[in-house]
């Protein structure tokens, strides 16, 4: 593994992230819209058990959504790099494909975790009470989930060469992933077929882990669906699988 290369891939992503104001603004605006427009509106209709407001209930889901969008967006930039040629500069270098995948995966992890932290800071506004330990827990989950989704995004990017595919990925992969993740409604309340689809979705486990961390003592329909250990194990195993498969796919020479 070439650590120089991994470092510089992350540094490049970070630099571009800081420079692109619009990306930062929309990254912060999206969760706000969901929390305060959708969440507040739905709160009138739905009043979850256990004294929790609907806005509070979707908070882990909105954190997950922030991670989903920012990680995928970062990884999908590989398609832009392919289109504009820069990816050949990376592929022609004496750097193993594994390092490239890990470097890009960590790039997504860094920018996505930053955005998740910004959203996390809203918790007092929502009337949530998080201890330091919980915040650290959320941070660790955010990092793991960001890496998992970023490497999944890299895998997607290996199949597409032009940015026209961006809307396909957004509409047919990212949006369904969001709605079938337990972000907006508890998995255990879903009809069977949807519940199965939800269980195949890596984001589900990330959001469930966040629920575990943010509402640790919750019981009843709004509580987490799996144990924190299960969630983390699934995220870890999937991350490794995505890295290995993506590296293999990049290795493939025509």
């Amino acid at each position: 593994m070439e650590f120089n290369a991994i470092y510089v891939l992350v540094a490049r992503e970070f630099k571009k992230f800081i420079r692109e104001r619009s990306r930062l603004v929309s990254a912060i605006a999206r969760p706000l819209i969901w929390l305060f427009l959708v969440g507040a509106g739905m709160s009138r209709l739905v009043s979850p058990a256990g004294g929790m407001s609907y806005t509070q209930f979707i908070f882990p889901g909105i954190l997950g959504m922030t991670i989903l969008f920012s990680s995928i967006f970062s990884s999908i930039s590989i398609i832009w790099d392919k289109e504009f040629g820069f990816f050949r500069e990376i592929l022609a270098a004496p750097v193993s494909r594994l390092s490239i995948v890990i470097g890009k995966g960590l790039s997504g992890t860094v920018v996505s975790t930053i955005q998740a932290v910004i959203v996390l800071l809203l918790f007092p506004v929502l009337g949530l009470n998080l201890g330091l330990l919980q915040i650290i827990e959320v941070l660790i989950i955010a990092i793991a989930l960001s890496f998992c989704i970023s490497t999944f995004g890299i895998l997607l990017a290996t199949f597409y060469d032009s940015y026209e595919s961006f809307s396909v990925i957004m509409n047919f992969i990212v949006m369904p992933m969001f709605f079938l993740s337990g972000a907006m409604y508890p998995v255990k309340l879903l009809p069977k077929p949807l519940a199965i689809a939800t269980k195949l979705n890596p984001l589900t486990y990330g959001i469930d882990a966040l629920k575990n961390a943010i509402f640790p003592v919750e019981e009843g329909p709004m509580s987490a669906d799996f144990s924190l250990a299960t969630d983390m194990a699934v995220i870890l195993i999937l991350s490794i699988a995505f890295v290995v498969i993506a590296a293999r796919l990049f290795e493939r020479k025509k």
Binding site: A5, V8, R19, F84, G85, E89, A92, A93, P94, K253
Partner: protein
Amino acid sequence: MPIIKVENLVKSYGNLTAVDGISFEVEEGTIFGFLGPNGAGKTTTINVLCTLISATSGKAFIDGFDCAKEPSKVRKSIGIVFQDTTLDKDLTAYENLVFHAYLYGVKKSEIKTRVHDALNFVELYERKDDLVKKYSGGMKRRLEVARGLIHRPRVLFLDEPTLGLDPQSRANLWGFITEMPKKHNVTIFMTTHYMEEAEVCDKIAIIDNGKIIVEGSPEELKKTVGGDVVSLRTRDNNWSRQEIKKMFGIDAEEKDGELYLTTGKGDACIPELIRGLGDMVLSVKLQRPTINDVFLKLTGKAIRVEDVSGMSNIKEEVRAYRRRH
């Protein structure tokens, strides 16, 4: 030992054989020109040599390393300037080069000096903090050349380095390219379909339909299509023809009122002609065979119908450019 060695290289895409059993060698410290029309197989060959695609059969070695078996060693010893830009337009020139240095594992303590030197070499130091999207085509190309040198490769591949540049930028870029073997201790492998550019090379191979049809120095190749042609208009063609016959022992051809004589050294015979014929001479023109003539003769077709904007003699343009700067 040649620094690049290619043996019977074949690359097929399904039914299409893009590279069809080519062999050649490139000596260290030289400029090797790989010429051919669109779709001849130039880029495909470069991609195999750069280990970006694998060959269907045959072998290729760079600096003694097998391109198929030791790709990582090959990659360390080469620099590439691709046919299409591969710069990150949202980074500055400086950042692009630093990125490259890290990617190629250049020692941290050396990165700064190397990047500065490279930028100075291509005269872009002043613009180093501009985003690449603000660069002109010629500046981008120069930057890519500089980037290709950052990790001190043994061989630099240039795929159509001057494509789409205006004559001034082309001459400017050529100035840098011709300096490189000495200044940076690097061998240049370049492809082009501008015939005039090939004349700067030490050795040329012409490829057509995936096969090398001829190989040699520009002079050798030009000899195969005959020598220089001097054409002149005179006050008295008959008298002049006799004089020429006396001086050079050559029969000048008369066509449309002009005299044409074919000779090995056209430039040397012009002063003699003028001395011998005195004020009988109205005008003299020297036409030298070009690589295009070589290509035309071998394949029966022109390499490319394209206006080269008066860049008929690249060597002179480069010299003129250097004088101006």
